[in-house]
Chain length 224, copies 2
């Protein structure tokens, strides 16, 4: 199972996260500040880092920068309320997600799981960037769709939906799950939006339009 590095100067917070992490079957290691964290990262292989921003010696941002120089490890940042304005800056540094303190450990664990899943997914995609079914093909590197060799223009959402369906081919996927996984946990819109995108997407797939099958009462599925 995955191994996490927990970085925070407050022992109490590390303890809470550690407990939850163990409950979710993750291994853990800990560091008290950015400096220690960088050191530990150089000498160990972690799958994910949970790190506070405000810390003595070396703050979370700087530590993140140092670590990313050497290794590509996903990082989830903990920030006190009010530090949110730094969000954009943080994402430029390659931070994968943010959790604002005081946080719910359960939510944090959900984010951890999501980031790890995303990472594993992209690792697989990097190995083989093309997904195909008959003459329908997508390339996750160039984010392009081709139908019988002919390139088809899709919008971002259409591409994301098609990629998601093909990555989970032959699985009935509920609208809720699709919203969660494609739009993100913080989207609170109408799930019928998906239907509209599906309609447009089908329109672009020509003779393969029926590969996207409606699963009545549930959602959709890509049939190989």
């Amino acid at each position: 199972m995955a191994k996490l590095l927990i970085v925070d100067d407050e022992a109490k917070i590390r303890e809470v996260i550690r407990e939850y992490a163990h409950f979710n079957k993750y291994e853990t290691d800990e560091a008290e500040d950015g400096m220690q964290a960088v050191g530990k990262c150089l000498n160990n292989d972690y799958d994910l880092i949970i790190m506070d921003i405000m810390m003595p010696r070396l703050d979370g941002y700087s530590a993140c920068k140092e670590i990313k120089k050497e290794k590509d490890i996903p990082i989830i940042m903990l920030s006190a309320r009010g530090e949110e304005y730094d969000k954009l800056f943080g994402f430029e540094l390659g931070i994968d997600d943010y959790v604002v303190k005081p946080f719910s450990p359960k939510e944090l664990m959900a984010r951890v799981a999501a980031v790890l899943a995303r990472k594993q997914h992209s690792a697989e995609a990097a190995r083989n960037p093309v997904l195909a079914s008959d003459g329908l093909e997508i390339n996750t590197d160039s984010r392009t769709v081709t139908v019988d060799g002919v390139k088809v223009d899709c919008t971002l959402k259409e591409y994301e939906i098609l990629a998601y369906l093909m990555q989970n081919k032959n699985m009935a996927l509920s609208r809720d799950r699709m919203l969660q996984d494609i739009w993100g946990y913080d989207f609170f819109g109408d799930d019928r939006t998906i239907d509209t995108h599906i309609k447009n997407l089908r329109g672009r797939l020509g003779k393969y339009r029926d590969k996207i099958v409606t699963v009545r009462g549930i959602g959709y599925k890509f049939e190989d």
Copy 2:
């Protein structure tokens, strides 16, 4: 073996439950009120919680809400007779079962076993998505039914019923229970509706139609 948390303000009741739990080879821990229960849950990993509703400091419902925020642990509620009207509210909170006081410890233990089994069941289903019996097969990922290799179209309810019966094969399942588990706690319809669905379902199963056996006076059963 599984570990239970017993929450009740009366020491006598905790004692009775504890004894029966130990007899059934469960580990136990105890709390006297909701507040304590929440605290203990945060610091320990329990497999199931048995909790009274009426308690000083923090009542069972509120405690349940707090706990479910952080961890997904099955909860069985103990309620005094007359508190039953709260059932709906309780199921919304994610309560897995109810036992009315004064209860039979033996029945309580049966419920505990059932809830734990159900939980394990869903964990297993995630691992192996196909259920089969001779040439009749369902795939819970793609939500498809095949008869001797030929795909058969089912409606949502037909599929749900078949999946439910096959997941509980060789068990006589009452109509009430089926309504509870398939339709949900908030369905207040006629249980003969099931009969109609069973009829339609049998029509689709061809030579395997008799695998769904009528249990007169009770309901139905899937015979392997």
